[in-house]
């Protein structure tokens, strides 16, 4: 029986998987595009846009942290359906340490990282032994269990009512522009960290593990330890996204971190493209902005999301990011 994961997928579709061929040029293009995107985000508040656009941009940044962190796990060949819940864990940790224990904001954000990372460290060694489909199923169930904890631990988490009236961390952050820049810096640090990590040896190791974990083991890579490390970091980063979103929306409840949210992150990653860091970024931009054009039709949005997933999974495994290469490939085949 054919085993899971991306390798078969990429191979079966005969996608050019150019790893090194022209990689400096590609890297330069990506760098230019990335810096361009960053420039847009930096000058955004000065464009005289409405407060709504600014809050949309903040949402994009928060979601971007979550999706890029999930990207690391997906790059290893594991699709986690609990990422939204890990984000929620960070949100609860950050908000509770401010609301219940009166800790200062920076320490709260450290807890936002530590809480999900700690859980990931405990369960990671068990979960990451599982092959693709079992991992998906377990994370699916795990997400449900943690959500139930949020709902049922009334005295601490406020149950299904959630926690509202979350105070601002600093007076200065009452200004949406200030909050926006804080989020931008956080996103820059987190996404930059992920990007740097994927460019380093660790990134190569991650790709090797996805393509063939046994081969990786033979090459002397401590596969499980590596997987757990990446999983812990990814879940911790998702927690930071959760912490920021808690203070941004100033209200948290279990439903905002349910399976639907986890699914959204997976959709963004896969439709954007799961083999490159650009994928989740494009996916996030696409799927946070697109729904705004369909505001009155929340259900229709979900239907479109679903159809996108089917189409991408069936015909375009490299996602939107791979679209150009895919078209080029097809054209060159036809006009040989």
């Amino acid at each position: 029986m054919k085993t899971i994961t991306a390798d078969n997928m990429a191979a079966s579709q005969k996608q050019p998987h150019k790893a090194d061929e022209g990689s400096t040029r590609q890297l330069r293009i990506k760098l230019v595009l990335g810096l361009g995107l960053l420039a847009i985000f930096i000058i955004l508040p000065f464009l005289g846009l409405s407060g709504f656009t600014l809050s949309l941009a903040t949402t994009i940044l928060i979601t971007g942290i979550a999706t890029t962190s999930l990207h690391m796990i997906i790059r290893m060949g594991h699709v986690s359906l609990a990422h939204g819940v890990f984000m929620g864990l960070g949100a609860y940790a950050a908000v509770l340490s401010v609301v219940k224990f009166g800790l200062p904001f920076p320490i709260a954000m450290i807890f936002a990282f530590l809480a999900p990372a700690a859980l990931a460290l405990v369960i990671g060694p068990m979960l990451l032994r599982l092959s693709g489909k079992y991992f998906v199923l377990v994370t699916f169930l795990l997400g449900e269990i943690i959500r139930l904890v949020f709902v049922n631990w009334q005295s601490f988490t406020g149950g299904s009512n959630g926690i509202f009236g979350i105070p601002l961390p600093y007076e200065g952050l009452a200004d949406p522009v200030a909050f926006y820049y804080m989020t931008l810096i956080a996103a820059l640090l987190c996404i930059g960290f992920v990007a740097r990590m994927l460019q380093s040896d660790i990134g190569r190791i991650i790709d090797t593990i996805r393509e063939d974990s046994r081969l990786a083991e033979c090459a002397g890579i401590p596969v499980l330890r590596m997987k757990v490390t990446v999983f812990v970091i990814a879940c911790g980063l998702a927690g930071i996204a959760g912490g920021i979103s808690g203070f941004f929306i100033r209200y948290i409840d279990p439903t905002s971190f349910s399976i639907v949210q986890s699914l959204n992150f997976v959709v963004m990653n896969i439709v954007g493209g799961m083999f490159q860091l650009a994928g989740p970024i494009v996916g996030t931009l696409f799927f946070v902005i697109l729904p705004e054009f369909l505001r009155g039709y929340v259900e229709l949005q979900r239907v479109i999301f679903g159809v996108c997933l089917i189409v991408v999974m069936a015909f375009l495994p490299t996602g939107i990011v791979g679209l150009a290469a895919y078209i080029r490939h097809q054209l060159s085949r036809w006009f040989k």
Binding site: L130, F140, V307, L309, I310, M313
Partner: protein
């Protein structure tokens, strides 16, 4: 609290719940065993079954014994269209099928919300009477569920074990390539298996809608339970599914009655996670990488 009457009642509820779970998960495991497709849209199919029964039985008032199979068959027929449009791209591709069909599930569920609205409905019960058997109260609708499910499962067993197509289906489940070499038209077998699987799921959805609630989101629970039953028994194993469904239905009924539904969910999910970690191929399954 532990009197024989209560225990008997718990047992009856457990069996009717088990029947529904077995029906859902049998189709799920069939699709997985034959086509290597992890059908995340299975719950949505069950949900469609519920709505089909709502219109055919609840609105059109056809006799129940006709309406029930008709509803399930109409959903299965509709699903055959989806098979041509969506599923066939994912055959023998486990990973892609999982994510792609997650998309299909989303599309179906929210299409249902658009068409029928998010509110909950109910389907009238075919038999309102409650029978007394000693200290036990047997509600008619639960008996109908148990009876029809038993008939369906028996038919399924007879079909797979005593007909040519059933044999071909089992052969394809064991090894598609070898089955093809033996002259089995796997394309047709796929469609047949697909029809049967969705038929059973839609039927279970109808039962569930009738005994509990009908809403576009009801499939989520069916899907989760199918997962759990299939994992418990072992992916792709048919006797395993029967065992898994039985354990699950009983556990839910017993734990739910004595400790509340939240505890029951915690315990079952926790047990499944532990099982997956210790023995991912399930109780009766066979390890994949021998």
């Amino acid at each position: 609290m532990f009197s024989p009457a209560v225990l008997g009642q718990v047992l009856i509820n457990g069996i009717s719940l088990s029947a529904i779970y077995i029906l859902v998960s049998l189709g799920f495991t069939l699709l997985f065993g034959i086509m290597r497709v992890v059908n995340f849209a299975h719950g949505a199919m069950a949900m469609l079954g519920g709505y089909a029964l709502y219109y055919i039985y609840g609105e059109a008032n056809l006799p129940y014994l006709i309406a029930m199979p008709l509803a399930a068959a109409s959903v299965a027929a509709l699903a055959l269209v989806l098979e041509r449009l969506v599923y066939r791209w994912f055959y023998q591709k486990m990973f892609q099928s999982m994510i792609g069909l997650l998309g299909l599930d989303m599309a179906l569920v929210y299409s249902a919300v658009i068409i029928w609205g998010p509110h909950e409905r109910s389907i009238p019960s075919p038999i309102d009477t409650v029978y007394r058997l000693g200290p036990l109260f047997l509600s008619g609708s639960k008996l109908v569920v148990i009876g029809l499910a038993a008939v369906t499962l028996a038919a399924f067993y007879l079909f797979t074990h005593f007909t040519k197509y059933g044999l071909a289906m089992r052969a394809a489940a064991q090894d598609v390539e070898t089955a093809e070499v033996q002259g089995i038209n796997t394309d047709r077998i796929y469609m047949l298996a697909f029809f049967i699987a969705i038929f059973m799921a839609a039927m279970a959805g109808g039962f569930f809608a009738q005994n509990y609630i009908l809403s576009p989101f009801m499939g989520e629970r069916q899907l989760m339970m199918a997962f759990i039953a299939v994992i418990l028994g072992g992916m792709g194993s048919i006797p395993g599914v029967a065992l898994g469904g039985l354990i699950l239905g009983m556990a839910e009924s017993i734990l739910g009655t004595y400790f509340g539904s939240t505890t029951s969910v915690f315990v079952t999910f926790g047990a499944v996670i532990v099982l997956l970690i210790v023995r991912p191929w399930g109780l009766l399954g066979i390890p994949e990488n021998r």
